[in-house]
């Protein structure tokens, strides 16, 4: 499924390889921009945990992805992102582990419990999970455009959520629809302005209009959320 060896193979018009495991070609059928109270952002945490898709340059190290492309401060990465998974495998060395097209990267703070401590980067207990650890992968092939799924957990959601939501991310229409369908009235009350495919919508029709736009099955949505203080 994943095209790890040659990220240039079968590119779509957007420049994203067509064979990534999410079936995402780099084009969104719906563009959605939501602006609202800063406090509304925390309502999106479930989506951050479940994961979203970004277009980026792949064939680079995890550190390069986080710092050079996402713009995170290297010190922040060192101090706060203590637990990282690449395709479900705990990562120890972010300088030498390569992100390929279609990869899933999960980011977490330091976690409790024996197993929480075991899964940490460079954990003194790393031998406990040696059979599932991500091994360092020497950079193969060239750097190219690709897609990755990012999941953000726990204490990092407050710190990184606004950044990714503000810059925009891709979600399947199904995932976003089922998330928005169950949002309570307070969530919609917190929304000040919504643009669906660049057309402004007005309260109290936010919910109805967005859900109507998301009715397309198996489509992708580009979502931007701005929090205003």
């Amino acid at each position: 499924m994943k095209n790890h060896d040659n990220p240039h193979e079968e590119e779509t018009p957007s420049g994203v390889p067509s064979s990534n495991s999410f079936g995402f070609t780099g084009n969104a059928s719906v563009n959605l921009i939501i602006s609202g109270k800063q406090s509304m952002l925390s309502g999106f945490q479930e989506l951050l945990q479940a994961g979203f898709v970004l277009i980026c340059r792949v064939g680079v190290s995890i550190k390069s992805l986080l710092c050079d492309q996402f713009g995170l401060n290297p010190q922040f990465v060192e101090d706060r992102i203590n637990t990282i998974f690449l395709d479900g495998k705990p990562v120890d060395n972010i300088d030498t582990t390569t992100v390929m097209d279609g990869a899933t990267i999960a980011l977490s703070g330091a976690m409790p419990g024996l197993v929480g401590a075991t899964l940490r980067r460079k954990s003194p207990l790393a031998s406990f999970r040696q059979t599932i650890s991500s091994s360092s992968t020497p950079l193969k092939g060239s750097v190219a455009k690709g897609v990755v799924r990012i999941k953000i957990f726990n204490i990092l959601m407050d710190e990184l959520g606004p950044l990714f939501l503000g810059r925009g991310l891709f979600l399947s229409s199904d995932a976003l629809r089922s998330f928005l369908q169950k949002q309570p009235t307070e969530f919609w009350d917190g929304c000040a302005k919504i643009l669906v495919n660049n057309a402004p919508e007005y309260p109290p029709a936010f919910r109805e209009k967005i859900l109507a736009a998301l009715k397309i099955e198996d489509a992708w949505v580009h979502l931007i959320v701005h929090g205003e203080s």
């Binding site: 479900g88 495998k89 419990g113 024996l114 075991t118 406990f128 999970r129 599932i132 957990f153 726990n154």
Partner: protein
């Protein structure tokens, strides 16, 4: 804490209490004390529900002082579930209260002749033991309410629910929290059945008129406590992740790692995990007017617990913790937090180990009694236990018994005790601990204490294959020490990363008891505890053949990583070769 309260429930003329000096047990607390008494005084071959077995309830060495985090309490006996030695510990208020009353332990001995059940009241003036059959077959919440009506709100209670009275193997012992609710349980190993077999329904403690225990060197103690608290609060796990989300913060990452046992250990990832994560749980608690940050006893500065309200904002249960959420979530395929919270409430009330009960429900689902994901069916099964129906009694007897009754092959137990929430095929090191702990499959028996700081058995190369045997040994030793201090095991994370916080713990112990204990002494202390426990098990008939995981962990790979448990038997047999 220089006396032990011994209550002979089978004495001629009715239960008789005697207070004796700690004597040969001086200097021991918590797990060290319970295991020493079990090992020395209980005939290893006795039936766990017989008069020969004893139930020991012991606060830690630092309990009752102003030291932060020192309110854990240990319960020890021969386990009806495993047939071996058991130490199970809990939070709540009773540890501090019992220590302030001056008791290093309560030991329940013998067995009453009739079928009366008793309540025991202890305050600074003495002990009263009264038969009270109006308490029969009450749940923990109701029995504590009755005690509040009788004795007021300044009490702390230790009780059993219906499961303990019925002497079911999954029965727990409940300890009341800061709100005087029976929400903290010594869950593992069926110690509730032992308390039930002694005819004791509830022990009510009242420390009115007592004072905090005074350390031998108050200045040093105060200084060490300051450093201890500062260390805990500055650490990312104890200062932020645990208080914000509670232990259920683990759901997402264990699931991501493919180590989240799902559908009775058939898979390593649960699609519904994100709906029952600690992040979602904490958010729900806050929105419903509960609490996402709360201590289980006064003096806890980490506060990993919380209050879970129902949809209407009424108290339902305390914050279900990671193991509980998993045991009913991934294990049973249930992805609804309210269902899991209801199961947590029922099991606290009936007095059941949430891990054992959740895994047992998973086994019944595997047997086809219910479908995976059937939350309502799971609730009904737990209610059956409370009623004492034949089916309920089978379920309440744990996963091993239920697996046999329903002819299930994949039964995740070691020494008869259900495995906790981490798949040992994905995280093999924890499988070493599950297999070899004298307690049966137990995740807390090898917690994350700084083995390299302690230098137990030399420094371990974390990336070297085979290192997990040595690490498991070191962790089990260190945990035995922490359990004996009455310290909450969650302090271990700060100790792992911050040598000065470990030193602060040592300083606390030394200043409290006038000792000069070093890191090396803590290792010896931990080893001594483990030796006693293993010796008891050996005399009870355990051999190395019991230090094994069920064979399906070697033969059935678990996804997404498609791994089996690969640590061989010879390596497992090396764990206690120090």
């Amino acid at each position: 804490m220089d006396k032990i309260l011994r209550i002979d429930m089978g004495a001629e003329g009715g239960p008789k209490a005697t207070t004796v000096p700690t004597g040969e047990y001086s200097g021991l607390g918590g797990r060290a004390l319970t295991s020493a008494i079990v090992s020395k005084e209980i005939p290893p071959a006795c039936h766990p529900l017989s008069a020969e077995n004893k139930l020991i309830i012991a606060p830690g060495l630092l309990s009752g002082t102003t030291s932060a985090m020192s309110g854990r309490i240990s319960v020890g006996s021969k386990s009806p579930l495993t047939g071996g030695i058991k130490e199970s510990n809990a939070g709540g208020q009773p540890s501090q209260v019992l220590a302030r009353l001056g008791y290093a332990a309560i030991v329940l001995e013998g067995k009453p002749k009739g079928d009366d059940i008793y309540k025991i009241f202890i305050n600074k003036d003495g002990i009263t033991i009264t038969p009270d059959n109006s308490l029969k077959m009450l749940g923990n919440y109701s029995v504590v309410e009755k005690m509040k009506a009788e004795h007021g709100h300044k009490i702390a209670c230790i009780s059993v629910g219906q499961a303990g009275e019925m002497r079911l193997l999954a029965a727990s012992i409940a300890f009341t929290d800061t709100e005087l609710r029976p929400t903290r349980h010594a869950g593992r190993g069926g110690t509730g059945a032992v308390m039930g077999s002694k005819g004791v329904k509830i022990i009510v403690l009242d420390d009115t008129g007592t004072t905090m225990r005074q350390p031998k060197d108050p200045n040093k103690f105060k200084e060490a406590n300051k450093k201890w608290i500062a260390g805990l609060q500055s650490h990312g796990v104890t200062g932020q992740a645990l208080p914000t989300y509670g232990t259920n913060v683990l759901t997402n990452i264990i699931n991501e790692a493919g180590g989240y046992p799902t559908y009775n250990f058939k898979e390593g990832r649960f699609a519904g995990a994100v709906k029952i994560s600690g992040e979602v749980e904490a958010d729900l608690e806050t929105k419903r007017g509960g609490l996402a940050t709360h201590g289980c006893h006064r003096g806890c500065v980490i506060r990993c617990s919380g209050i879970y309200n129902d949809k209407d904002g009424h108290y339902l249960t305390k914050q279900p913790e990671y193991e509980t959420v998993w045991a009913h979530g991934g294990e049973c395929g249930i992805d609804d937090m309210d269902t899991i919270a209801m199961l947590d409430f029922l099991e606290d009330d009936i007095g059941l180990d949430t891990i054992e009960t959740g895994v047992t429900i998973g086994v019944t689902m595997e047997a086809g009694l219910l479908k995976f994901g059937d939350g309502e069916g799971a609730i009904n099964l737990v209610r059956e236990i409370g009623k004492g129906s034949p089916l309920g009694r089978i379920i309440g007897s744990g996963a091993a018994v239920t697996g046999k009754v329903f002819g299930v092959e994949r039964v995740p137990v070691v020494k008869g005790q259900a495995l906790p929430a981490y798949d040992p095929r994905a995280v093999q090191g924890i499988g070493v601990t599950y297999a070899t702990s004298p307690m049966g499959a137990d995740h807390t028996a090898g917690y994350a204490v700084a083995t390299n700081i302690l230098g137990v058995g030399g420094t371990v190369d974390p990336l070297k294959p085979g290192g997990q045997v040595q690490l498991s040994r070191n962790l089990q030793i260190a945990t035995a020490f922490i359990d004996s201090m009455g310290m909450c095991i969650f302090t271990a994370f700060a100790i792992l990363d911050q040598p000065e916080t470990f030193q602060a713990l040592l300083d606390l112990v030394n200043a409290c008891h006038g000792l000069e204990m070093t890191a090396a002494d803590t290792v010896e202390y931990g080893k001594r505890v483990l030796k006693m426990e293993r010796d008891f098990n050996a005399r009870a008939g355990f051999t190395k053949e019991q230090d094994r995981l069920p064979s399906f962990f070697r033969s059935q790979p678990v996804g997404p990583h498609n791994v089996t448990f690969e640590v061989n038997d010879e390596e497992l047999d090396q764990v206690f070769n120090w």
